[in-house]
């Protein structure tokens, strides 16, 4: 019997998505009925399951908070793949050992404290549980079950013939060389029947001889390959087993680290376990002892392929190894992200974005890295950022300054306006900043703040159609609409709005030309002659100057109309006033004002008894 069967199922401790996906890809290639991962344990996850591909389909693998829960729900899963870090791997193993369910526990963490590793390993031995690791990539029984990342990519697995049983039993310490050996055995023989990387730490749960004795009894294993390392005495246990006849199948052996011979001390070649404390622990001594015991030992690692080929061909000649009929390998669906990267697939996009990009080293605003517009030394302001993100253009200084002037001008208008009032009432009801803010913003529209849009729209219409100010007034009268952007509650010709004065002054000084403003001022002359407070107000000035700005920047009339139609002008008001609303909301929070209730005496109650309709 190999280490695993086609029915073996594991519980995977830690949601290591890529390793789990590789196991399921393997399952698909070898046509397993059930996924080899029954459940995932992830103590801090809030998900109940995760999805993985099984061929082209997806399967759901349940996630549990504890090994105990997972084991109870999946009583047939007798392998625990412990992918916890070196800090927690010991606790995870010890918890699992309290359950009678697990036959095999594989531990990947490197650098578990030696005392803990020894206690963990001994507890497992006493309970008859097989530990693989720590510090390992795991084990594989080709055609049945593979642990996590062992064997590498699925392409390599098929190339190294790890998708179907061969005839070699392989045991190594190193995980990286395990793959390499599978490749060498596939190139020079018929692949492996069972393989384990025992792990690189000084104290590992199962050692070479444990696995080789198991393989001796496994009828699928016809010969064995042991790749040892300098340091430790584990290879001598194998030599003993060969000498005493406990191992009768041919064994090929090699210890890496013969290089250490040439250096007195100080250079650490390889793993933590790989340091010779005595002469017999050197790779050279162990290779010699193996050879003397009748193990097939090459002269150098570079000759290992020939030795493998020799042993394999001999067994084949004797009829011990039969030719293998290669199974059909289903095409492995390529991972979409990978295929996309390789330019092999395409797909229509569901969203389009033309303003910013977060895929590169640093996110950009219309092609400009954020850092190039963010800090004061860049000389850029919030107006520049708006020109990039709203208009995808780098506006000249005067236009950027104007945008910023607008934002500052409309930032707030006291607590009494409907939006600010709403925001304050909501904040006092104990709602969050964002909830309070949106109740304020939701009042912005045709009656509140909307005059910017309206002014731009109607003044532009009149100007484009060559209406005289008088014709325009008449036109609006016929439409039954008060002219947007005209009129103020208290300000008048004699008491002008300083905000408006500022905007006009800036435009006069910095705009290349202001034709629509000139026109609007003509209109204002007419309206103020009728009533003193029918002045061009701040909303009107902003709307009209925006049109002048865009014209000076070279936008076509169609483009400007599109800005107006899509609500761009109102956006300046929304953005600016958000600053004020947030101020009011934070003000309420700081003041800790109680829930607001409107006084009875401020409401006109006129409630009639409802008429009954029969």
């Amino acid at each position: 019997m190999g280490l695993f069967t086609r029915d073996t199922q594991a519980i995977f401790w830690n949601n290591n998505r890529s390793a789990i996906q590789r196991m399921l890809d393997y399952d698909y290639v070898i046509k397993r009925d059930k996924p080899s991962v029954a459940a995932i344990v992830a103590p801090t996850s809030s998900n109940k399951f995760d999805k993985f591909f099984f061929g082209t389909d997806e399967v759901m693998i349940p996630i549990y908070r504890s090994t105990e829960e997972a084991a109870a729900a999946h009583p047939n899963a007798d392998v625990l793949l412990n992918f916890a870090s070196f800090r927690t791997a010991y606790d995870v193993t010890m918890d699992a050992l309290k359950l009678p369910q697990f036959k095999t526990i594989m531990i990947t963490a490197e650098g578990i404290p030696e005392r803990l590793a020894r206690i963990m390993n001994k507890t497992a031995r006493d309970k008859g549980v097989l530990i693989i690791g720590p510090a390992t990539v795991g084990a594989i029984t080709p055609g049945a079950f593979k642990v996590a990342n062992i064997g590498g990519t699925i392409e390599n697995i098929v190339k190294s013939k790890l998708h179907r049983p061969g005839s070699c039993g392989l045991v190594t310490r190193s995980g990286g060389l395990f793959n390499e050996l599978c490749n060498i055995i596939a190139l020079n023989a018929d692949g492996i029947a069972d393989g384990v990387a025992i792990g690189g730490d000084r104290f590992v749960g199962s050692v070479f001889v444990d696995h080789l004795l198991r393989m001796e009894k496994d009828p699928n294993v016809k010969y064995m390959l042991l790749l040892g390392e300098v340091g430790g005495r584990e290879e001598y246990k194998v030599i003993e087993a060969v000498k005493s006849g406990k191992i009768t199948k041919p064994v090929i052996g090699w210890c890496i680290g013969t290089i250490a011979e040439h250096f007195s001390s100080g250079v650490q070649f390889g793993h933590a376990g790989a340091s010779a404390n005595a002469d017999e622990e050197t790779a050279v001594a162990k290779n010699k002892a193996m050879k003397e015991a009748g193990i097939h030992v090459p002269d150098s690692f570079n000759d290992l392929p020939h030795v493998i080929k020799g042993v394999y061909e001999e067994l084949r000649g004797e009829g011990v190894i039969k030719d293998i009929e290669e199974p059909e390998v289903p095409p492995i669906p390529e991972d979409f992200a990978k295929a996309l990267k390789a330019g092999k697939v395409r797909r229509p996009k569901h969203f389009v974005c033309t303003i910013s990009d977060d895929r590169g080293e640093e996110a950009t605003y219309a092609g400009y890295p954020i850092s190039s517009v963010a800090t004061p030394d860049t000389g850029k302001t919030i107006g520049d950022v708006i020109s990039l993100l709203w208009f995808k253009k780098v506006y000249p200084r005067w236009a950027v300054d104007f945008i910023e002037t607008v934002i500052k001008t409309v930032a707030d208008h006291g607590p009494a306006v409907s939006g600010a009032h709403n925001a304050k009432v909501t904040a006092r009801a104990g709602k969050s900043v964002v909830e309070s803010l949106v109740t304020g913003l939701l009042t912005i529209g045709p009656r509140f703040g909307g005059a910017i849009d309206g002014a731009a729209k109607y003044f532009k219409y009149a100007y484009d159609n060559n209406m005289s100010p008088a014709e325009f007034l008449n036109y609006m009268k016929k439409q039954g609409i008060p002219i947007p952007g005209i009129g103020h509650r208290i300000k008048s010709v004699r008491n002008p709005d300083k905000r408006v004065e500022g905007l006009k002054k800036f435009a006069k000084e910095h705009f290349p030309s202001t034709p629509l403003l000139e026109y609007a001022l003509e209109v204002e002359k007419l309206t103020t002659s009728k009533k003193d407070n029918l002045i061009l107000n701040v909303d009107g000035t902003i709307g009209i100057l925006m049109v002048d700005m865009w014209r000076a920047l070279g936008y076509s009339e169609e483009e400007i109309d599109e800005f107006i139609e899509s609500g761009t002008l109102n956006s300046f008001f929304i953005l600016g006033r958000t600053i004020g609303f947030i101020g009011h909301v934070l003000d309420e929070k700081r003041l800790g004002m109680p829930m607001y209730r409107h006084p009875f005496d401020d409401i006109l109650y006129d409630v009639q008894k409802a008429e009954e309709i029969k």
Binding site: E114, N149, G176, L177, D201, E229, I259, G270, A274, S300
Partner: protein, 443 residues
């Protein structure tokens, strides 16, 4: 990593800090300082709590992880007769020792820099006991006890009692095992106190995650315990859970080990900052064969094979590895460091230099990504590489290896660097054979 030696002074400090918890009923007068110069010692003597430096006769020893200091004549305990060393004598001796190179009987050489200074403890030779503990194997620790401590303990090893203690033994079992094995030649009136000390010593060894702990000699007078000489190694993998107990303990470079070169230090620093693994040891800067190998196991195999096929290590310049999915930048930096070392001088015999870019079939490292870093380094060093005549041999497999191999081949050709590139169908170390055979063909 794993087992690392600490200074005698630090070992004794750990005893002192944890004494009351482990050694109840016994008393350890911790009087010990670690200094690097005579001046520092004189200054220390002025600090409160260190008056004993002026009032007691002293003993001075280098504290640099090597043993047999007595046999090396590196213990100052007398000027004219034992126990007459004054503070001034000690300071003078320290300054004398640190001003010149010292060669040990073992042949290790170096300058002494750290000294431990303690009071001279007069005692009889038969009061010198021995105790040590180590992590023996998978199942057992072992405790060594002897009534005959001192310099000759190895010669008297037959008098040492070894007690195997199962790692999961309970306190009662530990006590029973130790009491049943107290060396017979410890005087009757000392047996109880020695047994108590041995039991406490083992628990202290175990709980503080020592891998090896030896006191030789330990002198017990009444309830007073004197730890005269100490050797200790800690299991540094336990560091994360021992922070509070160990504090900022130092793991010094052993005496006589050559200091790391600036390049090795730079790689070690990059390694410490990275999640990946970057290791570099320069074996022979004049060497002709340089390696740039991915993976710990593979790096060993390449070094082995070079030694096997080149008839020794005379030509092997470095040993090292990069692994664990290093970023493109990390690989570039690592490669530049190797290329820089390799292109400083031409081979004195005018032969080509060989660069082995090797690796096994990776489990998850993206080969193309790491090779991008190597190519960037090629671009920077191409001219220098051509000046000293570098031939490149590449062998690698793993995720995205086809692209990686194609990229590196194209880059080398574009830069005019001779290169041979192989994938997993070629045996991992066969490029070493090819490189050496090409040498012969050229010669």
């Amino acid at each position: 990593m794993a087992q690392r030696a600490i200074r005698e002074y630090d070992g004794k400090k750990l005893f002192a800090q944890n004494w009351d918890k482990y050694f109840k009923g016994l008393n350890y007068p911790f009087e010990s300082v670690l200094v690097t110069s005579g001046e520092e010692l004189l200054k220390k003597a002025e600090e409160p709590g260190y008056e004993w430096l002026k009032t007691k006769p002293l003993v001075v020893k280098p504290d640099m992880l090597f043993g047999k200091r007595g046999k090396n004549n590196l213990v100052l305990f007398k000027v004219n007769k034992p126990g007459d060393v004054t503070l001034e004598d000690a300071a003078k001796w320290i300054d004398e020792k640190r001003s010149q190179e010292t060669t040990l009987l073992s042949g290790q050489k170096g300058v002494l820099t750290h000294f431990i200074v303690e009071p001279f403890t007069p005692h009889k030779e038969d009061e010198e006991y021995y105790i040590a503990a180590t992590t023996l194997d998978e199942e057992n620790d072992v405790l060594y006890m002897s009534a005959h401590g001192g310099m000759e303990v190895e010669e008297n090893w037959d008098k040492v009692t070894e007690v195997k203690i199962p790692i999961d033994a309970s306190d009662e079992e530990i006590e029973k095992l130790i009491k049943a094995n107290i060396p017979a030649d410890i005087p009757e009136d000392k047996k109880d106190v020695y047994a108590q000390f041995a039991i406490d010593f083992y628990k202290f060894f175990r709980d503080l995650n020592f891998a090896y702990l030896e006191i030789n000699p330990v002198v017990i007078v009444g309830n007073n315990v004197y730890l005269l000489d100490l050797v200790a190694r800690l299991d540094d993998t336990a560091g994360f859970m021992m922070k509070d107990v160990w504090g900022d303990i130092e793991f010094p470079t052993p005496f006589g080990m050559p200091e790391k070169s600036p390049e090795e230090k730079a790689i070690a620093e990059a390694d410490a900052k990275s999640g990946a693994s970057l290791k570099l040891t320069v074996l022979n800067p004049e060497g002709r064969i340089w390696t740039l190998v991915a993976g710990g196991g593979a790096s060993v195999v390449y070094a082995d094979t070079i030694a096997d096929l080149a008839g020794g290590v005379a030509e092997l310049a470095n040993y090292g590895e990069y692994s664990g999915g290093p970023t493109t930048d990390e690989t570039r930096f690592y490669t530049e460091t190797v290329l820089d070392l390799m292109t400083r001088k031409k081979d004195p015999k005018g032969r080509d230099k060989i660069l082995i870019i090797g690796g096994a079939i990776a489990n998850f490292t993206d080969v193309a990504k790491t090779f991008t870093g190597i190519i960037q380094a090629f671009e920077k060093y191409a001219d220098k590489m051509k000046d000293v005549g570098v031939r490149i041999y590449v062998r690698r497999g793993g995720p995205n290896y086809e692209k990686g191999l194609k990229d590196i081949q194209e880059a080398a050709q574009r830069l005019g660097l001779p290169i041979k590139v192989f994938g997993p169908e070629t045996h991992i170390t066969d490029i070493v054979r090819m490189a050496l055979e090409d040498d012969k063909a050229k010669a």
